[in-house]
């Protein structure tokens, strides 16, 4: 293993984050706090409890995941797209670095950043609403796996993208609607039967349900299915990345 290279990529990516600290961490935190103020305190105070959980607390897991998923994709996609855009990817391709080492370097930086943002939002939320975490270890595990899988997906998006515009297409047009419709602000049991069944085709439902189970001990879908869905998504992303590097798709002529 070329540990020097993994560390170099990681440190390089993290220094970019630290250099743009406000843009990297403060803005997602501020926007999430605004969600809490509007949905949690202002509107939430007039909403009924869901499964004995106040509405303000109920939306915490969904909001964390919304931000974490979008941040993971945007961090990882930008980190690999930018070297492609300026041409410095050739240095990575000509270095004695395996594809696995490259992915570990980039993904671990994207995961660190997203996890940090997720935990900051959780701490911020704990000042605004009552939060009790019934399964803290599972909470961290599901958060970590979400960061890893969506960072891997972001990496794929970054390699696929041919322009900065394309980097934003997947998070804006696919992930945001899936997270919103995946029960981040409501329990899917509140939906009519037909739409409940349709919603089960949305993979993000399993993610949010599993994460909410870690917080409150109850879930829209069985926790085992949630874990399976997250693992399946992670392995699918790993497989696609393996294919990309094997064929050199859009990185190697």
């Amino acid at each position: 293993m070329n540990f020097y290279a993994i560390k170099a990529i990681y440190v390089f990516e993290m220094s970019r984050t630290l250099r743009t600290l406000i843009q990297s961490i403060a803005s997602p935190v501020i926007s999430t706090v605004l969600y809490f103020i509007v949905f949690g305190s202002a509107i939430g105070s007039r909403m009924e409890d869901i499964s004995s959980v106040s509405y303000g607390s109920f939306i915490v897991p969904g909001l964390i995941l919304l931000t974490v998923c979008l941040q993971s994709i945007s961090n990882a996609s930008f980190s690999i797209y930018f070297p492609k855009f300026i041409g410095s990817i050739n240095e990575l391709l000509s270095a004695p670095v395996s594809y696995l080492e490259l992915v570990i370097g980039f993904i671990s930086a994207a995961v660190t950043k997203s996890m940090t943002i997720g935990l900051i939002i959780l701490i911020t939320a704990s000042f605004l609403v009552d939060i009790e975490i019934k399964h803290p270890i599972w909470m961290v595990c599901i958060l970590f796996l979400s960061c890893v899988s969506f960072s891997l997906m972001g990496f794929i998006v970054g390699i696929w993208a041919r322009s900065f515009e394309q980097i934003t297409i997947i998070p804006d047009l696919i992930i945001t609607p899936l997270v919103f419709l995946g029960g981040s602000f409501y329990s899917i049991t509140l939906l009519p039967d037909f739409w409940q069944k349709v919603t089960l085709f949305n993979p993000v439902v399993y993610l949010i349900s599993g994460f909410r189970w870690a917080f409150f001990g109850n879930a829209d879908v069985y926790i085992g299915y949630s874990i399976l869905a997250i693992l399946a998504f992670t392995f699918a992303c790993v497989f696609i990345i393996w294919l990309i590097f094997k064929t050199g798709y859009r990185i190697k002529s």
Binding site: Y4, G87, N90, E91, S94
Partner: protein, 306 residues
């Protein structure tokens, strides 16, 4: 007898759209030499370098570096190679010293502040080490990509058009640097458009055109074998070159008081001596003689058929 540090056998590269960039390339590069790859735009020089360094996939053939295959043992081969790319591709907001250290680590080496300092000083970048890339001039950025390529102390250095678009001072600096690196034992493979660059620093010349190697030869032997020289002779009066009955490859100046002769090897056929004897015999006085030697450029143009 020095060993071959790079061996290229039947290397071909065809792009997905059917463009043949390299066709059946065979080339051995000796340890410690400077070899210049000359060729017009699109000849395949950069593709050849990219194939050896791992930037582009090889369609067929084999390339080995220090006895290791560039695909099967890519980690070993790439660790030996430093690449100065044609395009300046640098992260614009990073500091000079950070991007150079990054390259060293990427190539599997632990930090070595003394070595990085030595390189930055050698490239006149030490006082700019804390500047961001975006603040540097084009010439300075080119020095940075050379510093990056040298950061991990490579045994082999590829320089893809290193002096394209740089001023004369920097070009001379680069040539000096390349000579010093060779003296330290580094093998250097250089692509260039500037024929005088190859003439100045290379030990061997390889001319590439249309994805094929047209010739590879020791520079001085090549010039001796194929190079043509020109002698210009100023006379005391007008002369009509018809008096020589077409015995020499002659041309005349507009005022008809100077003649020029192209010749290849004066020792071999005594052409020069014969011409001077004939001039004396025709009762002309020679006022001035000068020689001109654009040999490699002429060879290059002859080979690529331009």
């Amino acid at each position: 007898m020095k060993r071959n540090i790079i061996q290229i056998e039947r290397l071909s590269k065809t792009y997905k759209d059917g463009t043949v960039a390299l066709e059946n390339i065979n080339l051995n590069i000796t340890d410690g030499e400077i070899i210049a790859l000359l060729g017009p735009n699109g000849a395949g020089k950069t593709t050849l370098i990219s194939a050896i360094c791992g930037i582009t996939n090889i369609s067929s053939g084999n390339v080995s570096v220090a006895g290791y295959d560039v695909i099967d043992d890519y980690k070993k081969t790439r660790a030996l190679i430093g690449l100065v790319p044609q395009e300046i591709a640098l992260q614009p907001f990073e500091k000079v010293i950070d991007v150079v250290k990054y390259s060293r680590n990427l190539f599997g080496c632990a930090n070595n502040d003394m070595h990085i300092e030595k390189i930055l000083k050698r490239l006149l970048l030490w006082d700019k080490k804390d500047k961001r890339i975006v603040e540097l001039s084009g010439g300075m950025k080119r020095r940075v990509i050379i510093a990056k390529a040298l950061s991990h102390e490579p045994k082999i250095l590829f320089l893809d058009e290193p002096t394209a678009g740089v001023d004369v001072d920097l070009r001379f600096d680069m040539w000096e640097l390349i000579k010093k690196l060779r003296a330290d034992g580094t093998t250097i493979i250089l692509t260039t458009h500037y024929i005088e660059e190859a003439e100045e620093i290379a030990d061997r010349i390889s001319i590439i055109d249309n994805g094929k190697i047209q010739l590879t030869e020791n520079k001085s032997e090549l010039i001796k074998r194929l190079g043509k020289k020109v002698i210009n002779i100023k006379l005391d009066q007008e002369i009509d070159i018809k008096v020589f009955n077409g015995d020499f490859d002659l041309s005349q100046s507009p005022d008809k008081t100077s003649i020029s002769m192209r010749y290849t090897d004066a020792k071999k056929d005594n052409t020069l001596d014969k011409l001077l004897t004939r001039i004396k015999k025709e009762k002309y006085k020679i006022l001035h003689i000068e020689t001109d030697e654009k040999s490699l450029e002429e060879i290059f143009l002859d080979v690529v058929g331009k």
